[in-house]
Symmetry: C2
Subunit: 257 residues, 2 copies
């Protein structure tokens, strides 16, 4: 009987996995080769909302692919963008810092890179281009807000523990989409002055925005690999992770109406 149940569970798991289609897609921004990952539930054949997923400073990893799978299970077409370039996958935080800084100090390049990913998503026939959003983690959170600042015609963006600073706050006026910023109340990587500047930017530009502060959460609160020691400034927080995912779903329910 136990063997039978084990086989049955394996079959059920296989069936569940089989529905999720995962595909590596090479694309370009200028002359730079990029390599993203498209994920969707292949049981659905009609156009549906698309969600761009932008990686943290370590580049595109299994973490983003897992989030894309979670989005696919919600019925969305998800595409994990590659900002750094094909094969550029930092091996440690030192290398990650070098890569992330390249783009944080060249916002025009960052915008071009994320836009290239958005184009791939929007060209997919399964995507309803009137219902597209972008989400991002840490560096990716900064990136999706930068995408909004570029005037992109997405319905909304969600930043999870992203840096909220901008070298050109006046660009807030370009924002056409809705913004949800999910922020760890104890995040030492987002200084109070950045938070205040972000709020001023959103206010001055009359953006449709909201910000959620999760008590007890520091940087990287959605990432299990960040460990659980808040004193390090970055740590996983299951409570804030689950709540922010719910908050994202509620945001999507509103913008994808």
């Amino acid at each position: 009987m136990k063997t039978f149940i084990a086989i049955l569970l394996t079959l059920v798991a296989a069936a569940a996995n089989a529905a999720i289609h995962t595909e590596t897609i090479e694309y370009k921004q200028g002359d730079t080769a990029l390599e993203g990952v498209l994920v969707y539930d292949d049981a659905v054949t009609t156009p549906r909302p698309g969600v761009l997923v932008v990686h943290q400073w370590l580049g595109l990893t299994d973490y983003e692919k897992h989030r894309a799978e979670m989005l696919a299970q919600l019925g969305y077409v998800a595409f994990c963008a590659d900002i750094y370039g094909k094969g550029v996958r930092p091996a440690n935080t030192k290398e990650a810092g070098v890569e992330a800084t390249k783009y944080k100090t060249d916002r025009a390049l960052l915008r071009a890179r994320v836009k290239a990913g958005l184009d791939v998503l929007e060209k997919n026939k399964l995507v309803d281009t009137r219902r597209v959003a972008a989400i991002g983690y840490c560096f990716g959170g900064t990136t999706v807000i930068e995408l909004a600042r570029s005037g992109a015609g997405v319905a909304g963006v969600v930043s999870f523990h992203g840096g909220l600073d901008s070298p050109t706050p006046a660009d807030g006026k370009n924002i056409k989409c809705k913004i949800l910023a999910c922020h760890g109340a104890d995040d030492p990587h987002v200084p109070a002055r950045d938070l205040a500047a972000f709020e001023t930017e959103m206010h001055d530009a009359k953006v449709d925005w909201r910000l959620i502060k999760y008590g007890g959460a520091v940087h990287a609160f959605t990432q299990p690999m960040a460990g659980n020691d808040n004193s390090k400034g970055a740590a996983y927080n299951e409570r804030a992770d689950k709540r922010s995912w719910q908050d994202m779903k509620q945001f999507f329910a509103e913008i994808f109406k």
Copy 2:
């Protein structure tokens, strides 16, 4: 056909209204007579979550009763507490200011008054006492957080544009319940120093809390009678009203599991 549809709609509306039971309840705190309003859907007979509703500075009005009806329609037993006393219903903002100040400067009395209302709710046989929350608007927001600071055994409290200040921040350590503070990002009635002090209080006491800032919203953003002129510092904001109600529902879904 049109007449038939009109009659049908009237009947449907009547049936929907008939299910909502509204009852004035007199009770006491010390020697002071108080008069609250109990609201629930009388179609339900088994215990369900209870929600205490605490009024704004104008005292218990039709506004709170309407919110209680909305909660009843969600399947909760709602009780509108009376903090000021039977018949004490300020006729204007000047009188409201006098009443509210009495309690804001005597937190022990405020706690006793809200506790008396909570007792009425919890004694009702339709209420599942393991699943009780309190929500409040403006003055009532301050009140429900004060209820939490008193160590009340509720599952959670929700403040809508409430004052977040505390004369005794150390009381944060008494808080046993979860806290959701819904805050207008442009609310001039909640100074930045109060917001910062609130966050410090929650942090220091390791409270399970979250705060949502709604862009473009000022004080009283859930109250249609506040008008729509943000420059007055208090104004209705339909977007923030609807979102904060959704956020409250999501909070309840979590704490009433």
